[in-house]
Symmetry: C2
Subunit: 262 residues, 2 copies
């Protein structure tokens, strides 16, 4: 329970202030905000409220989109916001390929991360490459396997670049056990939720832990064996979850985290 | 054009008889039927009409679902139907995991293929393991990468087991070039269509060749370099394609195949 972090996406219809209050009320110690939520209050006021509630910030979601115009400038702002918020992890969603040449897209992403890295180090923020599920390649990320994220992190070779592992994006991979072991020392975030067996929508059908087909205990054991013992973010994009009454969502999140995850 | 095969799924709302007539009219030499279409006419009548139209059968879709009850019996029927239809390839969609243990599911699938193999060899039918996109793991296939399909084919080690490579299911994979090269001599089918960039539905949004983000010419070059020069099935599951008028669908399929694929 002391490792549970509530990612604001799990209650995307609430204001940031409401999420902060709910976490404090339910004894959650960590919060993982998205930048569109920060924008509601401004970073300084958000930091003040998070501190006042006794919460720590596990990461900021998200920088990245290295294949878009003006990515560098926006990513420097994201690094500044992470530092101002008091977290040392910026999650990177790397962006879709700009052309049909996927290798070129992956190289472009690696160069974008390299360009951002000195600024991140200067601000005490580690960059966490998050591989997304291959079904998100067209709109969100050309980085679709943990192996590919590690290829980039290892090529750059600095401590300031690591990986964020989300069970939803990676559980299907036959190479997962080997790649998690390879990630030892580079894991800067771990996200949990579940894969619902009858998934039809590529973005909005993530499940609550325990409602799907992912072996979460087995997954967490691999993450722990690779040395990661930091906060674990619950991140669920799903209108059916967003529609739950406040107390039901918080109680369910805490209960399922305790029963299904570690 | 002499390699174009029309998979019946591309016109799933037409009867098999209508698909056969359309292929003959538009100068297509190959057809790839699904079993639910065969059932309309019965295998013998289907064979008679396909022969009469001067068509060859590139493969039968599908056997597999090795994790389901009675899979063995249904798969022997599928082998018999393939042989009766005069094709030497049965496409295998391997089935979802029965439990959260994905390695166990993959082992169960490998054993199911091994059990079916002698019967397939006896009937002159090769088994083609088709890895599906990882987003289809919950309902259709625990085999989600070409590498994993090749692991199984190589472990069994018989000529009677190969792989069917569909661009849609595999294009996202950073290991694709290496795995296609590894597949040399084991490729028994090649399926084309496209990945639409704004894909939201996990099953029914496959695109017409040229409408999406897959480098089809590059993909085909790798397939050819690996030695596969057989029929190329156009397989598109998409209600927007199914709704096209008959002549528009056929003309478009032929035109896009000639312009975008080989």
């Amino acid at each position: 329970m002391s490792r549970l972090s509530f990612n604001t996406m799990t209650a995307d219809r609430w204001s940031l202030a409401e999420v902060i209050d709910a976490c404090a009320q339910y004894g959650i110690e960590w919060i993982g905000p998205w930048r569109h939520k920060l924008a509601e209050l401004g970073v300084e006021e958000a930091r003040r409220r998070i501190d006042a509630a006794g919460l720590k910030v596990s990461s900021l979601c998200r920088g990245g989109f290295f294949t878009a115009p003006n990515a560098d400038e926006d990513n420097r702002r994201a690094v500044e916001e992470a530092a101002a918020l008091g977290t040392d992890v910026l999650v990177l969603v790397c962006g879709p390929p700009a052309t049909k040449d996927l290798q070129a897209a992956r190289d472009q992403i690696a160069r974008g991360i390299e360009r951002l890295l000195p600024y991140a180090i200067e601000h005490g923020v580690r960059l966490g490459i998050e591989p997304l599920h291959p079904m998100m390649i067209g709109e969100r990320s050309a980085i679709v396997t943990l192996g590919n994220a590690l290829d980039i992190a290892e090529r750059i070779g600095e401590d300031g670049v690591g990986v964020v592992i989300d069970v939803y994006h990676t559980f299907w991979d036959p190479q997962l056990p080997a790649q998690i072991a390879r990630a030892a020392g580079r894991i800067v975030g771990y996200h949990v939720n579940d894969w619902l067996p009858a998934t039809q929508h590529t973005l909005l059908e993530r499940g609550m832990m325990g409602d799907g087909i992912i072996d979460l205990h087995g997954f967490s054991a691999m993450i722990e064996a690779a040395g990661y013992v930091g906060p674990v973010e619950v991140e669920i994009l799903n209108p059916a979850i967003w529609d739950l009454p406040r107390d039901e969502l918080m109680t369910l999140t805490v209960e399922r985290f305790e029963r299904c995850v570690l």
